[in-house]
């Protein structure tokens, strides 16, 4: 007797785009606020960015229920870490935790495409980029989600990132100033909004630096 196939999918793509850029002493993490399903928009005002630790912010797009569950797991693991070590987790530590958490569900993955941004223990900006099952790498900038294919080539051009094949390894952190980086991010999103139907409504931008956190919102096209 042939096996029956389920006529429902445990996954859905709720769309959206996430971007992060690392600077010498700052980090910019941004994501649009549109949540969609199929060809419908569910809501125009949904935050995809989650504060995991004082210096670690995660932006995730993909299947929203999995993203929420992932955020919950990481937040509670951070709380336990704080109880046990009496300090905040560093961004590279959180990066490893996220990778392990994703791989834990290697055979029923979290359909989440993540970008982790923050400041490392030296105060330099750090960005980590992930796939759905946890492979990750530290980079100078990254885009994930439905608009990633539109944004990444643009960032490659503007940030003139050195080749990762160079020896000795050249730092990928951008020499741009904070204001220039924020402006670049806004440009990325308004361009992606033009051509990606899942990106739009507004973009939420988090800027982390030595003085603390700042939050900016910019309206995008709603069509």
């Amino acid at each position: 007797m042939p096996k029956e196939h389920a006529n429902w999918s445990p996954y859905d793509n709720n769309g959206g785009t996430c971007v992060a850029i690392a600077g010498a002493d700052y980090c910019v993490i941004a994501a649009d606020t549109r949540m969609s399903t199929g060809y419908s928009i569910l809501t125009r005002d949904y935050s995809k960015i989650c504060k995991l630790a004082d210096k670690s912010y995660m932006a995730s797009s993909g299947f929203q229920a999995d993203v929420k569950a992932l955020q919950k797991v990481l937040s509670s693991r951070h709380l336990i870490y704080q109880h046990q070590h009496n300090k905040q987790m560093s961004c590279p530590a959180m990066a490893q935790l996220l990778s392990n958490t994703l791989y834990y569900k290697r055979f029923f993955p979290y359909y989440a495409f993540n970008v982790l941004g923050g400041l490392d223990s030296e105060g330099k900006g750090c960005v980590f980029t992930y796939d759905a099952v946890g492979s990750y790498e530290r980079v100078g900038y990254s885009a994930q989600g439905s608009g990633a294919t539109l944004i990444t080539p643009f960032l490659d051009n503007q940030l003139k990132s050195p080749s990762p094949l160079l020896l000795p390894a050249k730092d990928a952190v951008t020499p741009l100033s904070e204001a220039e980086a924020v402006d670049l991010v806004k440009t990325c999103f308004s361009s992606a909004t033009e051509r990606d139907i899942y990106t739009g409504d507004s973009v939420e931008i988090i800027i982390l630096n030595a003085n603390g956190v700042r939050r900016e919102t910019e309206q995008l096209r709603k069509d």
Binding site: N7, W8, S9, P10, N13, L42, F63, A65, K68
Partner: protein, 266 residues
């Protein structure tokens, strides 16, 4: 070369989209009982008796929610007095579309939740945000076990002056907004709400807006029935209206002679 890779991208994304498309419409219900294998016989495969859209809006004093009273068995409208909006504790309302029996089970879970909340006897009571959070976890965990509760839920309420309106789907997708709709309502009612909803709607204006949406659904959703209930919840309390029907208008010339001008007609 660009064009073929572009075409490949379109095809690939179509295939990906197909992989995530929602379940196909009901086929012969009798067939499934003959075809189930023992291992999966306990898992939800298809919905049987279903309710259609639920619409919720925030208004000046609280939340308004509307749903019709139909329970469809495939293409038959089998039940016409199904209450799809229910009270949850002191502060919340839940409206459900999808499988009615799964909704009844959810009501049982909520009963137990509210009971235990009351037994604490500490003067605190669960508000709509907490109920929404609880239901999100329930729906997501069932989806993880590949045995979903086949519902789309709308939770609304007011607690300590804060109005709350949220939604959970059968796979755990959840969000809150100023106006919510499930099923066909997402396609037919939400655009109307986006145009005409305001923060300071009065009760009468809210009801009129909901009726406009429900009428639209009546015309265009084949599983809608003309017997609706509108529920209101404010800080003071909750009322669910008596069932009533909407006035509809059919004297359009296109309805009088629907085949006039159609291909092959006379």
């Amino acid at each position: 070369m660009m064009r073929t890779s572009f075409a490949a991208l379109i095809i690939a994304s179509c295939i990906l989209m197909r992989a995530f498309v929602k379940p196909s419409p009901l086929h012969t219900l009798e067939m499934d009982t003959l075809l189930t294998s023992e291992g999966d016989s306990q898992r939800t495969q298809y919905p049987y008796v279903t309710g259609t859209s639920v619409i919720g809006i925030k208004y000046k004093d609280g939340i308004l929610m509307a749903a019709d009273m139909g329970g469809s068995y495939g293409s038959t409208i089998r039940y016409k007095s199904v209450e799809r909006i229910k009270q949850v504790g002191k502060h919340s309302l839940i409206g459900a579309s999808g499988e009615i029996s799964d909704f009844q089970e959810i009501l049982k879970y909520l009963d137990e939740l509210i009971l235990h909340d009351n037994m604490w006897d500490d003067g605190n009571s669960l508000g709509p945000k907490e109920v929404h959070s609880y239901l999100t976890r329930v729906m997501y965990n069932r989806r993880n076990k590949f045995d979903p509760l086949w519902n789309s839920l709308v939770i609304g309420g007011v607690k300590n002056g804060h109005k709350y309106l949220g939604s959970v789907s059968m796979i755990g997708v959840n969000f809150e907004d100023d106006h919510i709709a499930t099923g066909f309502g997402n396609h037919l009612a939400r655009p109307l709400l986006r145009e005409e909803w305001r923060e300071d709607l009065s009760f009468e204006e809210g009801v009129k807006l909901l009726e406009k949406c429900m009428r639209n659904l009546l015309y265009r959703d084949r599983s809608a029935v003309n017997k609706i209930q509108i529920a209101k919840i404010t800080e003071e309390g909750l009322t669910v209206s008596q069932p009533y029907s909407l006035k509809t208008f059919w004297i359009f010339s296109a309805f009088q002679n629907p085949t006039v001008g159609a291909e092959g007609s006379w």
